[in-house]
């Protein structure tokens, strides 16, 4: 019986197995072939090995490791450089070719001249020069210059996407703001490339640059904004400690911080740079990673990861300490898209920050629990109130209280009920006024200003439709814009304010801020439209100069 079955089956040897291997792997073989193939593989070690190797070949060699973070960024910039180089190549080769042809022509002319002079000694050099080839070459020479292709805009590192974006703003605090080439500080809170910010020992300041980077400068700092382009924003720290937060998207420019001894290159992170009295540079990273580059050799000295502090002079790593965390804490607003970014518990260190020794429990992530590094200095950045000092924001950081609601109660009911309602309304207003006062206290100090957002959010949750609470919408919008860099949420809040109080005291600021949000978010067409609306409504407004500064073409609107 078994003998009959075996004889009835077709012969299926190694040759057939190898020929069917690909059909079976790609599941294109019939059921009978698949069965025969499997039977043969069970019996034949050689075919089994071959099948395994063939499977590996058809599966492919897998994926290579892809560059990420800084490496990806470096590769992209290398692509841009190579692109420019390759674009220049045809011009160079053409120039070389023409130069070669020219040289040959000159040689031929000299040879011809020599021969001619030897044959006709009476021929003068002046006569020859008028008609000879060198003159033609000289006439032709400028054509080389004309052939030079125009400079390409692609990857141009000297221009920003729009000039209106290449500005920075003082968000809070005070500093001596020296404009580019200026010997005296200005009072403007908007500054351009080339501006130097000097802080005295009692000053701190928070600034926003190009609408993407938020920086906190500690007392005694001296920082210069060197350049801004679509690919690179560079600041120079002469002295003092500065903290940066940069929630960079892939197409945003790279941030470079230059110190006297090093260059810190950042793709997107939270970090501090300190230049001490000896001009030594200390780089501490709380989130992400930065490259520290040698100024002389332009080579990477160290890649500092989160949780580490790098001393450039000693080339040593250490843990991030309390001082660095404290300097960066005013920048602790996280924009992760999952929750309201500004409604965060006060003085909590974000979970995304890597601080060695700090518990992961959110309740315990406070500055008090950050271990102090042995031997670290003990100076503390004291909260400083903004008092309209030099370089303080021209928009008043302290907002006078809204006048009490004077709407008349139009009920015609019983006097007693009226009185009770008036009492209740008065109590309500008093509570709201007290709450607003508390929030304004937080808003006034540049150290606690970022925490005022939660305070305003609480007010709006409780007194959502109360007319006196409309001010909270405007201030919340400003905070969302300045600290969370969440321009869409800021615009919604500001629009809420303008709908509730179209002629309110903060209406002008709200309109200006909506224009500013469009500019900093790169929506230039919308910014032009909003600029026109602002100038149309407030032709003599407080921010006319700022609008014209960024869009000179709007002068005609006044």
């Amino acid at each position: 019986m078994a003998q009959d079955e075996l004889s009835a089956r077709p012969r299926y040897g190694c040759q057939e197995c190898q020929e069917d291997a690909e059909l079976v792997m790609s599941q294109r073989a019939t059921a009978q072939v698949t069965t025969l193939h499997a039977d043969h593989l069970r019996r034949c070690v050689h075919c089994r090995n071959m099948q395994r190797l063939l499977g590996d070949v058809y599966q492919g060699p897998g994926h290579p490791s892809l560059p990420a973070g800084n490496r990806e960024d470096r590769e992209f910039h290398a692509v841009l450089r190579r692109m420019h180089h390759e674009r220049e190549q045809p011009w160079q080769s053409r120039w070389t070719l023409r130069a070669g042809v020219g040289a040959l022509a000159v040689s031929a002319a000299v040879l011809a001249l020599t021969v001619a002079r030897s044959l006709h000694p009476e021929l003068h050099l002046g006569q020859t020069a008028e008609n000879s080839t060198p003159v033609d070459i000289a006439e032709d020479a400028p054509a080389h210059v004309d052939d030079v292709p125009p400079e390409s805009d692609i990857g141009d590192d000297t221009r920003f996407r729009h000039a209106a974006q290449a500005y920075g703003r003082v968000l809070g605090g005070s500093a001596n703001v020296f404009p580019a080439g200026g010997a005296f500080p200005t009072n403007s809170n908007t500054f351009s490339v080339g501006t130097e910010l000097q802080l005295d020992n009692g000053q701190t300041v928070q600034v926003g640059v190009i609408g993407r980077i938020v920086a906190n400068f500690a007392p005694g700092s001296d920082v210069v904004w060197e350049s801004a382009s679509p690919s690179l924003v560079e600041l120079r720290v002469e002295r003092g400690m500065t903290a940066f937060r940069y929630d960079r998207e892939s197409t945003d420019p790279v941030l470079q911080v230059r110190t006297p001894t090093a260059l810190v290159r950042v793709v997107g992170t939270v970090f501090t740079v300190e230049v001490d009295e000896d001009h030594d540079t200390l780089v501490s990273v709380l989130r992400g990673q930065v490259d520290v580059i040698d100024l002389e050799t332009n080579r990477t000295m160290a890649e500092v990861e989160s949780g580490y502090r790098y001393d450039v002079a000693k080339a040593t790593f250490d843990d991030v300490g309390k001082l660095e965390v404290q300097a960066a804490l005013p920048l602790s607003v996280e924009v992760d898209g999952s929750a309201d970014p500004l409604v965060v518990p006060a003085e909590r260190i974000p979970i995304s920050w890597n601080v060695p020794g700090l518990p992961t429990d959110p309740e315990s992530r406070t500055l008090a629990n950050v271990p102090t590094r042995p031997g670290s200095p003990t100076y503390v950045i004291a909260p400083i109130r903004v008092e309209g000092a030099k370089g303080s924001p021209s928009e008043p950081p302290s907002v006078p209280p809204e006048p009490e609601d004077t709407r008349a109660v139009e009920d015609e009911g019983d006097d007693l009920i009226d009185e009770l309602m008036r009492d209740a309304a008065a109590t309500h207003r008093k509570e709201l006024k007290a709450a607003l006062e508390q929030c304004r206290d937080l808003y006034e100090s540049n150290e606690t200003r970022y925490r005022a957002a939660k305070c305003f959010s609480d007010i709006l949750a409780k007194y959502h439709d109360h007319p006196a609470a409309s001010e909270a919408w405007a201030l919340l919008g400003i905070l969302r814009m300045d600290f969370a860099l969440d321009y869409v949420a800021a615009e919604v809040a500001l629009q809420n304010y303008l709908q509730r109080s179209p002629n309110g005291r903060l209406a002008e600021i709200a309109m200006y801020r909506m224009w500013l949000a469009s500019v900093e978010d790169g929506r230039i067409s919308q910014a032009l439209q909003r600029g026109r609306e602002y100038l149309g409504r407030y032709p003599n407004g407080r921010f006319v100069g700022k609008v014209i500064q960024r869009f000179p073409e709007l002068k005609s609107e006044i």
């Binding site: 058809y58 492919g60 060699p61 994926h63 590769e75 841009l80 390759e86 674009r87």
Partner: protein, 202 residues
């Protein structure tokens, strides 16, 4: 440049849809226009979207090679310089495959000729060896690269594009600028060659 990019953002989306090439979505067409105008953000977006594709293709075509970083940069530099000539008659991915193929064409032929003697020697040595079976993923990967390196470059290109990159015969014919029948023939010959190489390896 800035003004031009700005003007592009004001283009009516309906107009864009009407004029967008068949193989590109409106967003891709818009991005292409911005990239042509020299917007570095658009170039970066293209790079971000396709650099994994280009690098993986080079890795599969050439094996682990120290020149892959360099070649990836060359491919993108050439692509960015050629953006003005790209009419959208194929997807951006297919177009980049074509540039990759043109970039690596001479290189893999040079290497194939250079390594031919080495391969012959290796074959001879292997025939003296006992059976070799890949026992771990690293060995298997090396073995795969070794076998791929022995296939003729024109056959290897077709095999990699079809089996690893998942392109159709029609798409491969567009990438390599050859008739579909030629591509089909090369694929069949590549498979047969691989089968012979594998059979000789075990």
């Amino acid at each position: 440049m800035t003004e031009h990019v700005e003007s592009l953002t004001r283009v009516d989306s309906q107009t864009l849809r009407e004029h967008a090439p068949v193989f590109l979505t409106t967003e891709e067409h818009m991005r292409l226009l911005r990239a042509r105008a020299g917007d570095p953000r658009a170039l970066r977006e293209i790079y971000n979207e396709y650099h994994a594709q280009v690098r993986s293709h080079l890795f599969r075509l050439l094996g682990p090679d120290c020149e892959i970083d360099d070649l990836t940069q060359i491919v993108f530099a050439r692509a960015f310089n050629a953006l003005r000539g790209f009419q959208g008659n194929a997807s951006v991915g297919t177009w980049l495959y074509r540039i990759t193929a043109n970039t690596t064409h001479n290189l893999i032929r040079q290497r194939f000729r250079r390594d031919r003697v080495k391969v012959a020697l290796r074959w001879f040595n292997q025939s003296q060896d006992v059976r070799r079976v890949a026992t771990n993923p690293t060995e298997a990967r090396d073995e795969v690269h070794r076998i791929l390196a022995q296939i003729r470059p024109d056959l290897r290109e077709v095999f990699v594009l079809y089996h690893y990159e998942g392109l159709t015969l029609q798409e491969i014919s567009e990438v390599l600028d050859k008739p579909v029948s030629t591509i089909g023939d090369r694929l069949t010959r590549a498979r047969k060659h691989i089968r012979d190489l594998v059979a000789a390896s075990v």
